[in-house]
């Protein structure tokens, strides 16, 4: 049982116009096995939260804490965080020319586990997971995310989630740009990871449709850099009907 705890997190970025505060005191606690949906208007800071948890250098943490079972996550480098069990499925996965998927996956697995996976078994494991995600085997020989369609990039993110077996995963709009079948396939991947390793999930989304496949235990409404309301599944349905007007007027 693990706990990822975010307390009063304040984050800003440097822009041409000067320092811009984005997160203004975020509180969030996720336990192993918990599935937390985060919904909120464009620009409210959801990706900022995701990147800050992963440690992207662009974001300055001005206050607050992130801890993983009491360990100070903010003191860790990006790769240390990943090795500690944090995973970010990115909204826009990055292309890496000349580095094949096979090489990348093996290198990442070796880094996370601290030892190289057994050659035979590993190839088989990768193939099985690619099958389940309906990814053609030819992807192994292709360069990371290069020329992948939007949906293929998202499947590739979930493939990594399943292979690297983190303790907590932040999924930043993994459902965006997926067709109906792909949405189901990707959701099944997340659910497998959840079941097999008691994964804790932070699921950032704009749509309730994915919540039909991935059942959230908590729903958080994210507005203007903080959590404006929390509830269960029903909150998501209400947001779908009413939108964010209520929060935006309250704030004004």
């Amino acid at each position: 049982m693990s706990t990822l705890e975010i307390r009063d997190l304040q984050v800003s970025i440097e822009t041409d116009q000067g320092t811009k505060p984005i997160l203004k005191g975020v509180d969030l606690t996720i336990e192993s096995g918990g599935i937390h949906a985060i919904m909120g208007p464009n620009g409210s800071g959801k990706s900022t939260l995701a990147y800050t948890i992963a440690g992207h250098p662009r974001y300055n943490v001005d206050g607050g804490t992130i801890t993983l079972d009491g360990e100070d996550v903010l003191a860790m480098s990006v790769d240390e965080r990943a090795r500690a069990g944090l995973f970010l499925a990115m909204q826009y996965p990055v292309e890496i020319p000349g580095v094949t998927v096979a090489n990348f996956l093996r290198t990442a697995k070796t880094a996370i586990d601290g030892e190289a996976p057994a050659i035979r078994g590993w190839a088989k494991t990768v193939n099985e997971h690619m099958d389940q995600l309906r990814m053609d085997k030819s992807f192994s020989a292709r360069n990371v995310n290069e020329g992948f369609s939007g949906g293929e990039k998202k499947r590739h993110e979930i493939l990594q989630l399943e292979l690297l077996k983190p303790r907590f995963a932040v999924l930043d709009e993994t459902d965006s740009g997926l067709d109906v079948d792909a949405l189901k396939i990707v959701s099944e991947g997340v659910n497998r990871a959840h079941e097999t390793s008691d994964l804790g999930v932070l699921l950032i989304t704009h749509y309730t449709r994915i919540l039909r496949y991935i059942q959230p235990t908590h729903v958080h409404v994210f507005v203007n850099g903080r959590v404006a309301e929390e509830g269960g599944r029903e909150l998501a349905d209400r947001l779908e009907d009413e939108g964010y007007d209520r929060y935006l007027t309250a704030q004004a």
């Binding site: 440690g55 990006v78 790769d79 890496i96 020319p97 580095v99 990348f104 990442a108």
Partner: protein, 394 residues
């Protein structure tokens, strides 16, 4: 990779390409003055270290040739049959000296219709840092043949080299020159090629080792429907000067050119120079041409000059473009890899190796690809202790 775009790093840019195509040629070294470093084709070169190649003197024994693979394949021709100068015209002093003083008269001829799947590897080993060598090599692919010829350089010497490449109609020829010299080698090579009707030349320059290496390929797409891919890969360490002046002339109709040169630089004084001139001639309707040079700066204290030129003399082309980018690491790529648990150092190595592997992946000879991949790893290991390029220095 998303590299930071920068303006060509040399003020005044290069001379117009027309001047390039009208550049004086001569077989007599006396017609060329000793380069001072101010001439258009020398101004980014290390003329001081290239000076041994400016001496018009009798030479022998600087380079040992292992031609066993070519002999076994029966592709060497000798005697009166081994004509040279059909298309080659020396454009600078070392080239004229290499013509005059050529030692081997090596002539490779792929018979008509012959399809050779095994690469023909000629091994050239320099036998001493002070030794001056000169050579003129002819590589000729007769109609409908398919072959790959590799010039593999190691050891050390001061070598002036001409490579005359003739791709007859419908032939497919790959020429790869690998410079894996020791640190004190000096090498100036002039490659000149003509490509016939519906023929294809793939030309790849790989420079890892050597003090000063200047390999200048010049390709004329003469035949209708001819194609060329001109690729280059340079990994410049402290004190190395690796240079390529590429000239691609679209002369015939419906020709296709793809130029891609990549460089990585690490360590104090590491230098690369790339000048890419593409000329689309007045009769070259239907031309499709693209050239690009990308350089990745791994540490401070390096310099990459990159000058693309494109000149179009006909209105009716299929497409033409050029690009040049020199920059440091892409932070987003490093972040992505590190977010998967990969340490920063390993992530850097993966990104650089990947950047360069894009060229290696186009070679198409597994054994050579593997060796070059290992060479890239070795180069990266050499740079392991160096501080990464600072952001401001990009």
């Amino acid at each position: 990779m998303t590299l930071v775009d920068t303006a060509p790093s040399t003020p005044g840019s290069a001379a117009p390409i027309q001047t390039r195509s009208e550049r004086p040629t001569s077989f007599d070294p006396a017609d060329f003055g000793t380069p001072s470093g101010r001439e258009v084709n020398w101004k980014l070169s290390d003329t001081a270290r290239l000076a041994p190649l400016f001496a018009d003197e009798e030479t022998s024994g600087a380079v040992e040739y292992d031609l066993s693979a070519l002999e076994a394949a029966g592709v060497l021709v000798t005697g009166d049959d081994a004509a040279r100068g059909e298309i080659f015209r020396p454009e600078d002093l070392p080239s004229a000296i290499a013509w005059k003083r050529s030692e081997t008269g090596l002539h490779v001829r792929i018979p008509a219709g012959e399809v050779l799947s095994e690469p023909l590897i000629a091994r050239l080993r320099g036998l001493g840092a002070g030794l001056h060598g000169n050579d003129h090599i002819v590589i000729e692919a007769l109609p409908d043949s398919v072959a790959t010829v590799v010039l593999d350089h190691s050891g050390t010497a001061a070598l002036a080299q001409n490579v005359e490449i003739i791709v007859r109609d419908r032939a497919t020829l790959t020429v790869i020159t690998v410079q894996q010299w020791e640190d004190d080698a000096v090498h100036a090579a002039a490659h000149q090629a003509v490509v016939g009707e519906r023929a294809t030349l793939k030309h790849i320059v790989v420079s890892f080792g050597g003090g000063v290496v200047r390999v200048n390929p010049s390709v004329r797409l003469a035949g209708q429907g001819s194609e060329t891919a001109l690729y280059g890969l340079a990994f410049s360490d402290a004190g190395q000067h690796l240079e390529s002046q590429v000239y691609l002339f679209h002369e015939g109709q419906d020709t296709k050119g793809d130029v891609l040169y990549k460089g990585a630089l690490q360590g104090q004084g590491a230098r690369t120079v790339w000048i890419g001139d593409v000329l689309i001639g007045p009769d070259a309707t239907g031309t499709d041409s693209y050239e690009k040079n990308q350089n990745l700066v791994l540490t401070d204290g390096t310099r990459a000059d990159s000058i693309p030129n494109l000149e179009i003399e006909t209105g009716d082309i299929a497409g033409a473009g050029h690009a040049s980018a020199t920059g440091r690491f892409d932070d987003e790529q490093l972040f992505y890899l590190q977010a998967r648990g990969i340490t920063e150092e390993t992530a850097r190595r993966l990104v650089v190796a990947g950047f360069l592997m894009e060229i290696v992946q186009r070679i198409g000879i597994p054994e050579l690809e593997e060796r070059l991949a290992a060479d890239i790893e070795a180069e990266l290991a050499r740079g392991a202790g160096l501080a990464p390029a600072s952001k401001a220095g990009a």
